[in-house]
């Protein structure tokens, strides 16, 4: 199937230890401030991709995003080959992983992670011996199915040969060893972390399955029949189990068999990634590396298109899948039925939300689809902020019909965003974690753009998006109280400076 978004991209990197970072493989824009039409133009010409900022604040690290994938695999021990700071947030996340697992009916388990705790001596002598001991300890004490080795900046700079060690130790341990190269300094795009984790899964983790099915009772015909109808839906760290149930429900209604991978999957399931007729992404920013390589490996076709959020995008997502199976008639019936039911259900919320001014900030695919939904029910989108912009959302940008819409491209950078928000004064803000607290301090009511227990995808998700926004506007006193009694650290000079002035032609990235 011709696939617009990945058209000229190559997926043959499994022979190398490290995947290329997004800066090399995809490129994109990490700093922009201006109107939507200007951005479209600058992006097409390649100018937007060459911009940087003067005053900068902390963004993200690809290690955290790689960990977000790897850490969901069942029966795994993760080793963070680094000083103690990298992934130190895991200290307080023990329950979070289990909440996620419990919501999916999976066994809760102690989250075992090990830091090689690299110190000044290791910087001089190398950290390989410590890593060796940590791997042998993890294998002996826990007998996990997988031991993942997450590489921080220090081994990256001092040149520890982690892959060499893995090749040496693999025959001696029972766990599958999965090195993940996700050194933070190597990429401006945190999404490189997705590729790093997926590279580890594709190159080191998955192996040829031994049996065709779990029970061993399936005939060859039954097995072929099952695979011919199986749709792998590739989940992401920011979606909930309820999202997965909703998307599965829709796929089943088309007479297909949904299978949710790779997050929270067992090694057994991962080995069987190839047993599907179609691989479907729910977020192109996450998945192209995985889906492209699975096509190389198993020949499985894929749909890498839109995030199924809101009515239009869910419809579009379903049509793309149905198209592959020639279920055009069935999908139109499904869409007709679902939208009719939904539009009636959200009527009371639409009454509250109509004409309200909204600002959406966060990851590129999610904000553009979420903004599209709120616009479709009569809200006014007064601005958007994207962590970065790349080829995967160019068509979504093209579909925005307001040429004057203010657009900011920035990962984190609350100073720029708060400056813009103070000018725009939206009625409600929908944003990525890390932003909402600052927005509350500015006095603007807000709801999270995603949540690991919130259903925002599919038709039931659209209902929830409307319901939550309407609820947030029922009582807005909290943000008012906070803004009147706390102080933001931004100077008057900053707040009076138009944020575009902070964006400059990049010297070094």
């Amino acid at each position: 199937m011709a696939n617009l978004l990945t058209g000229d991209l190559k997926y043959d990197y499994l022979s190398v230890d490290e995947p290329p970072v997004r800066d090399e493989r995809i490129g994109g824009c990490t700093a922009y401030f201006g109107c939507c039409s200007g951005l479209k133009e600058d992006f097409r010409k390649g100018c937007a991709q060459a911009l940087n900022r003067k005053f900068s604040q902390s963004g993200g690290c690809q290690l955290m995003l790689a960990m977000g994938i790897i850490n969901t695999i069942s029966n795994i021990v993760t080793i963070i080959h680094s000083p103690l700071g990298c992934c130190s947030n895991l200290a307080g996340m023990a329950g979070v992983r289990n909440i996620s697992r419990a919501s999916r009916g999976l066994k809760t388990e102690n989250q075992t992670f090990i830091h090689t705790n690299l110190d000044e001596l290791d910087v001089v002598n190398g950290g390989i011996e410590k890593l060796r001991r940590a791997i042998l300890y993890a294998d002996k004490e826990y007998q996990p199915e997988v031991i993942a080795i997450m590489n921080g900046c220090v081994p990256g700079v001092i040149g520890d040969d982690v892959d060499g060690l893995v090749r040496e130790l693999q025959p001696k341990v029972s766990a599958r060893l999965v090195p993940v190269h996700c050194e933070g300094f190597k990429s401006r795009f945190v999404s490189s972390g997705y590729d790093a984790a997926n590279h580890g899964i594709l190159k080191y983790l998955i192996r040829e399955p031994k049996d065709t099915d779990e029970s061993g009772t399936e005939t060859e015909y039954e097995s072929k029949e099952r695979i011919s109808k199986t749709v792998n839906i590739f989940n992401v760290g920011s979606n909930s189990h309820k999202d997965e149930l909703e998307l599965s429900r829709l796929i089943k209604k088309l007479g297909l068999i949904p299978r949710i991978v790779p997050l929270h999957a067992s090694v057994y399931d991962l080995d069987r990634l190839g047993e599907a007729a179609l691989n479907v992404s729910i977020c192109a920013t996450h998945d192209d590396y995985m889906l492209g390589h699975l096509k190389e490996r198993y020949g499985t076709e894929y749909v890498l298109d839109v995030l199924p959020i809101g009515i239009n995008c869910t419809n579009r997502w379903l049509r793309k899948i149905a198209g592959h199976f020639h279920l055009e008639k069935e999908v139109e019936e499904l869409i007709e039925e679902e939208t009719r039911e939904l539009i009636k259900a959200i009527e009371p919320f639409v009454k509250v939300l109509k004409g309200k001014r909204a600002f959406v900030g966060g990851g590129e695919t999610r904000i553009l689809t979420t903004a599209d939904f709120y616009r479709s029910i009569g809200m006014e989108i007064v601005g958007i902020k994207s962590h970065n912009l790349d080829r995967f959302v160019q068509y979504l940008l093209d579909e925005i019909d307001n040429p004057h819409l203010p657009v900011e491209v920035a990962a984190g950078q609350p100073a720029e965003e708060l400056n813009l928000l103070k000018r725009l004064k939206p009625d409600i803000y929908i944003g990525h974690i890390g932003a909402n607290g600052w927005v509350t301090k500015l006095g603007i009511p807000n709801i999270p753009l995603f949540g690991t227990t919130i259903n925002y995808m599919g038709y039931s998700g659209a209902y929830e998006l409307a319901r939550r926004a309407a609820r947030a506007l029922k009582n807005t006193i909290f943000s008012k109280n906070i803004s009147q009694n706390t102080e933001l650290p931004l100077s008057d000079e900053w707040m009076q400076t138009y944020p575009k002035k902070n964006i400059v032609r990049g010297a070094l990235f």
Partner: protein, 444 residues
């Protein structure tokens, strides 16, 4: 050489520096590192320290030089200089502290030197790469630099003023409450305590810390370098003691400091008497329930050295629990381990706890497994039940496994929201008692 650590309860030196700086009123960290370090490390403490939050300028608000691949090759000093210049214009602060990450230190950037060029704009620099040590090291590095660069030298000493350190913001989840309880108590015996992080502190006040007569360190593993810096630079001697929790420990604490500063015994005795009376007037409330329902527990404490002994001492000496097993994760040196172990000889309980120094959570669990397994094979078994585990949220799994009571006190604490509560002193001990015993009645 340090060993690998399982389920670490520490961040790195940069993480320690950030949690320390963001706890000082109007101090702004400028992080010279890759883009993700500042927000990630700050968020470790914003979330896992009882939801302490980003505060004034934490989390992704932290100015960062955002070092990437090309700076690793060409150097990042120029980028840092630009970042300092824009930060002092755009972020309101009384002091800007440049701190460094692994990447920039490995390539040899002189960040402290760059910071020095902006000294007149209230900028200082500290070298804090992650590989230098854990959270506690970062805390000490920042404090040492403040003591050397910001605290003004003076020969004038205030007889009744102390510098109170060793309470690491964020790493002590209850740092605000603990500081408040201790400064209030010290004030009542006529002593002013400089705390860096307490309510009402400021950079202006920190400049005057050189006038203190004595430094009191409440930890063997944090604040020792800072105390030495006070001694070397400002000629202020120091003593090390434990975080006091409960009447007995607090009385010792007040007497130790009071005597060192020549406070009249009567003044201390009066405050101790009043506070003890207050403590028991409230503790009395739970006497019936504690007796009728038999609240005495075998206590297992899993914590860093700052909390391990004080918590053990409190449950043993005040509540009369059985101090059974203590695991400490932050002392590696054999001699220091021996000294720390000796503290437990002071306990009056007939049973003295077994002390394990271990930073691999799996091996602590293995040890407890043995204790439980050993004693369950026979029909009659005297096992350490009912048990209560006081640790961090990491030990919640253990408590569930063995069916024991559980309270998270040591970092990380992600299962509780902590605002101004503290466990130190007389009144803090009442709060601790409330929290411990609430666990025992929560299902009723």
């Amino acid at each position: 050489m340090s060993d690998f650590i399982e389920r670490s309860k520490f961040s790195c030196a940069l993480g320690g520096a950030i949690t320390t700086i963001t706890a000082i009123p109007k101090a702004i960290p400028i992080v010279h590192a890759s883009g993700g370090c500042a927000a990630a490390l700050s968020n470790t403490y914003n979330l896992s320290s009882g939801y302490r939050g980003t505060g004034y300028c934490g989390g992704n608000m932290i100015p960062t030089s955002n070092i990437t691949q090309s700076h690793i090759v060409f150097g990042g000093e120029e980028k840092l200089a630009g970042q300092i210049e824009s930060t002092i214009r755009y972020i309101k602060g009384d002091l800007y502290i440049v701190v460094t990450g692994c990447q920039t230190e490995l390539i040899g950037d002189d960040a402290v030197g760059v910071a020095l060029k902006y000294r007149e704009n209230n900028v200082i620099g500290v070298s804090t790469p992650g590989f230098k040590g854990n959270t506690l090291r970062g805390y000490d590095e920042v404090l040492c630099t403040l003591i050397k660069e910001v605290v003004e030298k003076t020969d004038e000493k205030e007889e009744k003023t102390i510098n109170l350190i060793g309470i690491v913001p964020g790493h002590d989840v209850f740092f605000k409450g603990n500081i408040e309880h201790l400064t209030d108590l010290l004030k009542r015996i006529g002593i002013r305590a400089n705390t860096f992080f307490g309510d009402g502190e400021s950079i202006e006040k920190i400049k005057t810390y050189g006038r203190a007569k004595l430094t009191v360190v409440l930890s063997e593993t944090a604040g020792q370098l800072a105390a030495k810096a006070f001694e070397n630079v400002h000629k202020i001697p120091y003593i090390t003691t434990d975080l006091p929790i409960g009447p007995k420990a607090t009385e010792k604490f007040l007497k130790l400091i009071g005597e060192a500063l020549g406070i009249e015994k009567e003044i201390i005795d009066r405050v101790v008497k009043d506070e003890k009376k207050y403590f028991y007037s409230y503790l009395e409330r739970i006497v019936d329930a504690a007796s009728d329902l038999d609240f005495q527990r075998y206590a297992v404490i899993v914590a860093d050295s700052y909390y391990a002994y004080p918590l053990t001492e409190f449950v043993s000496e005040e509540l009369g629990w059985i101090p059974y097993f203590v695991a400490v994760n932050d002392i590696e040196d054999d001699k220091l381990q021996e000294e720390y172990k000796n503290k437990f000889d002071r306990l009056t309980s007939y049973t003295k706890p077994e002390i394990l120094f271990e930073s691999k959570s799996g091996l602590i669990e293995k040890k407890l497994d043995l204790i439980f397994k050993e004693q369950t094979d026979s029909k009659y078994h005297d096992r350490p039940e009912p048990m209560f585990i006081i640790g961090s949220v990491v030990e919640r799994g253990l408590a569930k496994k063995y069916g024991t009571g559980f309270l998270s006190v040591a970092f990380p604490v992600s299962n509780r929201v902590v605002l101004n509560k503290g466990y130190a002193g007389f009144r803090g001990a009442l709060t601790l008692t409330e929290d411990l015993l609430s666990e025992l009645v929560s299902a009723r």
